[in-house]
């Protein structure tokens, strides 16, 4: 796209996208570390994730403030306006991703005393891998602003939902087997839900990028394969 006549305006917009990329990188790292801390019962790493969240919160506030000032000063139009509104939304999604990573990290302490069946943690790791890939790709798409790729990412969220549902079933089985599993398994259930929610935020970001680049909302419902809300009914 052509550059602005006022070059400072371009710098304002560049600042926003640079900060978003930074936030994305940190959020990604927090999610990866929180899952590693969970699987390895690494309390030190969990603590690091918890303290990193402040940085992400600050970044979201700073992006919000910069966006407000830019709107007030420049009265952005069309693609510029969508770009700035998009920054605010994406920053909010990334901040939530950080919160969810932090929440997983907090649960490490509660879960670490119980020994996790290897199979369960593998399930969580797999869910996290897919979610992290989704997050990484959406951040790449943010850098490239490809509407096509944004749309493709959005359509893949169903996969994560399906794995989450199967994890849900599995955790339920462990709890039924032995009531002593209930506490750790409930925590794990929340962790799995956190990770699944991160996938939803990645999808939100993909939709925002689609809107930023095209000016149109992506049409149609997003794919949903999270049928965990009916699993209880099947179990009885």
């Amino acid at each position: 796209m052509a550059t602005h006549i006022a070059s400072v305006y371009d710098e304002d917009l560049k600042y926003l996208s640079r900060r978003i990329s930074e936030m994305g990188g940190l959020a990604e790292q927090m999610v990866a570390e929180s899952v590693r801390a969970l699987v390895n019962a690494d309390l030190g790493l969990a603590q690091k994730v918890i303290s990193d969240d402040v940085v992400l919160d600050d970044a979201e506030r700073q992006i919000g403030e910069k966006a407000i000032v830019t709107i007030a000063k420049r009265q952005p139009m069309a693609a510029d306006l969508r770009e700035i509104m998009g920054s605010i939304r994406i920053a909010a999604d990334l901040e939530r991703v950080g919160d969810l990573g932090k929440n997983t990290a907090k649960r490490v302490i509660a879960v670490s005393s119980a020994s996790l069946p290897r199979q369960l943690s593998r399930g969580i790791e797999h869910l996290a891998e897919l979610t992290l890939m989704q997050l990484k790709e959406v951040l790449d798409v943010y850098a490239s602003r490809s509407a096509e790729k944004a749309k493709a990412i959005r359509e893949r969220d169903g996969e994560i939902d399906a794995i989450y549902t199967s994890l849900f079933r599995e955790l339920l089985t462990y709890m039924m087997e032995d009531p002593r599993n209930i506490t750790p398994c409930t925590h794990l259930l929340f962790c799995a839900k956190n990770i699944e929610r991160i996938g939803d935020h990645a999808t939100n970001i993909a939709e925002t990028i689609y809107y930023m680049t095209t000016g149109a909302q992506p049409l149609g419902e997003r794919p949903k394969d999270d049928s965990s809300n009916t699993v209880g009914a099947l179990a009885t």
């Binding site: 052509a2 006549i5 009265q75 952005p76 139009m77 069309a78 693609a79 419902e221």
Partner: protein, 271 residues
């Protein structure tokens, strides 16, 4: 299901917008100043009771087009207009047309407030008098009050109607000019950058006025302020190098225009 209802809604809104009758129709309008061609086959329809904003960089032809709508270009030597412009279906360039009467139907407000060096009262009654719209003192008084009310100026000037119009502030002068335009009961009001010489408060008052006038008049406004076009109009037309580049709903125009040139212009980018 969701998609369907959205599409249906959009269609309904579209139909509603398209159902607004065209007050003026410009067909293949070209304007030449001597050898120089200023407008190239512009096709632009002006919807009734709608504010249409004309935007574009300096020299793009937007003011030229505006001036063709009440034959203001007639006063410029070597200016030639081709194509067809109609008002309620009647050709306004028909030789049988009385230009003075046309300009009563299609009034104009200029960039710089230009009240006559006469009293506020006489500024407003000048048009109705020459057009024979009001004869008695009572009739004239009524026109003055109504017009100044419509222009949102009545309360500020009612106690000094016989003081000079040029003694008012810039914003008040511009609203006096709008009252003067309104006094002859026009159907269309053309505004050529009506706020470019005004401060933000006076600008806001004129914009509020445009919003109110829309109920009874068809308004065409030329403005260099993108924000103003976005605020006051329902339709926006973008001109560039004498061509009509794009005409669209204002909401669409300022969030997601179809044409790259519109995009670059409204965002302040190099074309």
């Amino acid at each position: 299901m969701n998609m369907m209802s959205e599409a249906t809604l959009e269609k309904a809104v579209d139909q509603k917008m398209n159902a607004v009758p065209h007050k003026m129709i410009g067909k293949d309008v070209s304007v030449y100043y001597g050898e120089k061609r200023a407008l190239f086959d512009v096709n632009l329809n002006i919807r009734e009771n709608t504010v249409t904003a004309l935007i574009g960089p300096s020299g793009c032809g937007k003011s030229t087009f505006l001036r063709t709508l009440n034959r203001m270009n007639d006063t410029i030597d070597h200016c030639k207009v081709t194509g067809k412009i109609t008002l309620d279906g009647g050709d306004i360039y028909d030789p049988a047309i009385d230009v003075v009467e046309l300009r009563a139907r299609v009034g104009m407000v200029f960039q710089k407030p230009n009240p006559f060096p006469k009293s506020i009262y006489e500024n407003v009654t000048y048009g109705p008098k020459i057009h024979g719209l009001a004869r008695t003192k009572a009739e004239l008084d009524a026109v003055v009050e109504q017009s100044l009310q419509k222009a949102g100026l009545w309360n500020e000037v009612k106690d000094r109607l016989h003081e000079s119009g040029t003694g008012l502030s810039g914003g008040q002068q511009q609203r006096l000019c709008i009252a003067r335009a309104v006094a002859v009961s026009p159907e269309v009001i053309l505004m050529d950058e009506p706020c470019s010489a005004l401060d933000p408060i006076a600008t806001a008052k004129v914009e509020e006025l445009i919003h109110e006038l829309r109920a009874n008049y068809t308004i065409v406004i030329v403005t260099h302020s993108m924000q103003q076009a976005a605020r006051v109009s329902q339709r926006t037309a973008m001109f560039h190098l004498g061509n009509l580049v794009e005409e669209n709903d204002t909401d669409k125009m300022f969030t997601n225009p179809d044409d790259q040139r519109t995009q670059d212009y409204i965002m302040g980018r190099f074309g």
